[in-house]
């Protein structure tokens, strides 16, 4: 994570993406064991957006997520053990088991929360951003959401208010062209999403969400602008969801994305692209990759072991925290 306008640190970005990829692959691999008893919405294929945006944030900047937030949480520095334990419903989970995969939080890391009602966190991020402005702190708030979320009225209400008050909120639209199994064309007219945001008065950036360098670069500009007091910024990144909407499996068999073969996915793999650049421009060797893989694998595996070793929350604490003191 960096403070100033970004000079891209590709190795760090790759590491960030790889952690997300391997963690989610491990979740997918173990999901069939029926021990992670909550819906999981995996972001495999979309890691560049989380990694590229969060690379421009400092710890006090806050990030809000949605139903598909493993990547957002991890890229912002959220505690992996606590996330994995949360998915396993353990007392050591980041919500003590109350939330599961769809509700993640790590206040220490500045990951201020994910909830699964689409659009639910968008105005919260604006409120948090406004708080920075009112306190005259130079932090930004960031909210990640999908192309489907762009249809919710609350997003437009939030953009209007953020623009009105010149609030340092970064709206990040992860446009994977899908809401569950419904393609964009059945939900929105042919016009640009970021065009609407621009008309609302936001600064706007669009880019290839599978290119982590591009994401990091555009996000760096947007974050710097917001920090300088130039108001809310909107980033739209085109990307592609590899797996089914929810769960651990590919769903090519459903036939709703007929063109999208394994090759289609591979061509768009943000890790593959970054790895090529690391090889070519940074001279990474096979061994460099292997070492990183080892480290990441160990970290991920440790998070599972942490979860398995963690205590279950007690049923009799189930009603705790209904009200604050």
């Amino acid at each position: 994570m960096k403070t100033e306008e970004s000079t891209i640190d590709l190795p760090a970005l790759y590491h960030s993406m790889l952690r997300i990829r391997r963690a989610e692959e491990a979740i997918a691999n173990r999901y069939h064991e029926q021990e992670m008893r909550c819906p999981v919405h995996l972001c495999i294929g979309e890691e560049a957006i989380s990694a590229g945006v969060c690379a421009n944030l400092t710890t006090p900047d806050v990030v809000f997520g949605n139903h598909r937030s493993h990547g957002h949480y991890m890229a912002k520095g959220g505690d992996l053990n606590a996330m994995m334990a949360e998915i396993y419903g353990k007392a050591t989970g980041c919500c003590g088991g109350r939330g599961g995969s769809m509700h993640l939080i790590d206040n220490a890391a500045g990951f201020s929360g994910a909830v699964p009602i689409v659009g639910g966190t968008v105005p919260l991020a604006v409120g948090a951003g406004w708080s920075f402005k009112l306190k005259q702190e130079e932090h930004v708030s960031v909210v990640f959401f999908g192309d489907g979320c762009f249809e919710e009225g609350v997003l437009h209400e939030s953009m209007n208010f953020a623009a009105l008050k010149n609030i340092p909120t970064i709206f990040v639209c992860e446009n994977n062209g899908m809401s569950v199994y419904t393609p964009l064309a059945e939900r929105q007219p042919i016009r640009s999403i970021s065009g609407v945001a621009k008309a609302h008065g936001l600064g706007v950036y669009t880019g290839d969400g599978n290119d982590v360098v591009e994401v990091a670069h555009l996000a760096g500009e947007a974050v710097a602008k917001a920090r300088r007091g130039e108001g809310p910024q909107f980033l739209e990144f085109k990307t592609y969801r590899w797996l089914g909407h929810v769960g651990h499996e590919f769903d090519d068999d459903l036939g709703y994305r007929p063109n999208e073969t394994p090759k289609f996915r591979e061509d768009r793999c943000p890790l593959k692209r970054a790895a090529e650049e690391l090889t070519q421009k940074f001279g990474w060797s096979q061994k460099d990759f292997a070492t990183l893989e080892e480290n990441v694998k160990a970290e991920v595996e440790a998070s599972f072991q942490f979860s398995f070793a963690s205590p279950d929350p007690k049923p009799q604490t189930s009603g705790d925290f209904t009200y604050a003191q």
Partner: protein, 369 residues
């Protein structure tokens, strides 16, 4: 897990066993065949999963003008459906979780419930809103609410919660025919429940409770999935001589109190089972109406079994005690009927206790939802 079949068998020939979800699909399919003004609108109604298959085949048969995917815009699309409804169409709007409908309460409460009234009967709003109650497999606090009582507070809305496949089909057909906004609330755990359902169309009224089981010792007024739990509890209680009268309320608004009052007159004891929270909910409403109208027959204070007064936790460990079930009901009924403490409570509880994990509807279930 209690028995997954309720017999509503009529004697007609063309009856066969299908499940609750299939009954819903059939109702919509047949209604749309008979009436071109019926439309189905919702997130996922025309996608490969077709709302857990309840809208399967509709778009293929009736085309995308009548079976329409919608943007994520619950309030706006509810308003659009109201506008369709006042313009001669009969839309069925579907929400995969009732929690999402909270975004649309403005249109439902301010408009759908009131336009017929405020415009002096000059417009009608024949709108059905299908809403699913999620449960288990870590649905968590925003995907497992059971919000029927919110809707049932509002004059101008009708609110129903069928339990059996027979009622699912018959009440959905009635809801579609009704000229009022009908909140049609489906508990996800009923979807695999099988039962006898006639092949042709038939109507089950939207304002009549159904006596599922006759009994003389205690009256149980129950809703939706809790009816299944009540039946399981009643079976084991019956083996020990306790005859429970089970009334599946079916409708939350209006409440059909007559069979409850008649039953309480006979049994003197009332227990209400609801899938939602207690506070300002339909369980208290039934208790209140019972004391208003049958006070003199009550031998003991009525009881209710509802969700505990907090949000649904996600972890299966925390959620394990969240949902009351047949065992809870057995214990509660024993506490009312067994003054001499002669019943083998432990044994009965054991008989109805789930063996599988409690966060799935049945042992065959494989996540995710």
């Amino acid at each position: 897990m209690p028995s997954s079949t309720i017999d509503n068998a009529s004697t007609e020939k063309n009856i066969r066993e299908i499940n609750f979800g299939e009954a819903l699909q059939e109702a919509q399919y047949q209604a749309m065949e008979s009436d071109k003004s019926i439309m189905v609108i919702g997130e996922g109604v025309a996608d490969p999963k077709s709302i857990f298959r309840t809208t399967e085949g509709l778009v293929e048969k009736f085309g995308p003008d009548r079976v329409t995917e919608m943007p994520l815009a619950e309030n706006g699309m509810t308003g659009v459906c109201i506008g369709l409804a006042t313009s001669g169409f009969r839309p069925i709007l579907v929400h995969q979780r009732i929690d999402f409908a909270l975004l649309s309460l403005d249109q439902l409460i301010n408009n759908a419930a009131k336009l017929h009234y405020v415009f002096n009967g000059q417009v009608t709003v024949p709108l059905v809103v299908r809403m699913l109650i999620g449960r288990g497999w870590g649905q968590g606090p925003q995907h497992a609410q059971s919000l029927q009582s919110l809707f049932a507070h509002i004059p101008g809305l009708k609110v129903v919660m069928p339990t059996t496949p027979y009622d699912a089909k018959g009440m959905l057909l009635s809801a579609i025919k009704d000229n009022n906004p009908v909140m049609f609330i489906e508990h996800r755990w009923l979807y695999n429940l099988k039962g006898d359902v006639p092949k042709e169309q038939y109507l089950v009224p939207l304002d009549k409770a159904s006596i599922v089981k006759k009994g003389s010792h205690i009256t149980v007024a129950t809703f939706s999935h809790m009816t299944i739990e009540a039946i399981a509890a009643a079976q084991v209680l019956a083996e020990h001589g306790v005859e429970v009268e089970i009334i599946d309320m079916r409708s939350v608004r209006p409440l059909d109190m007559d069979p409850v009052l008649a039953s309480v007159e006979k049994t003197g004891l009332l227990m209400v089972l609801d899938t939602g929270w207690a506070s300002c909910g339909v369980s208290g409403e039934i208790m209140a109406r019972t004391v208003e109208n049958a006070f003199q027959y009550l031998k003991k204070p009525p009881m209710r079994i509802t969700l505990p007064d907090h949000p649904a936790p996600t972890s299966k460990h925390l959620a394990d005690d969240y949902y009351p079930d047949a065992e809870t009901i057995v214990k509660a009924i024993v506490s009312l009927v067994d003054d001499e403490q002669k019943l083998p409570t432990q044994e009965m509880c054991k008989r109805v206790r789930r063996t599988s994990l409690r966060d799935i509807p049945n042992p065959a279930y494989v996540g995710p939802f």
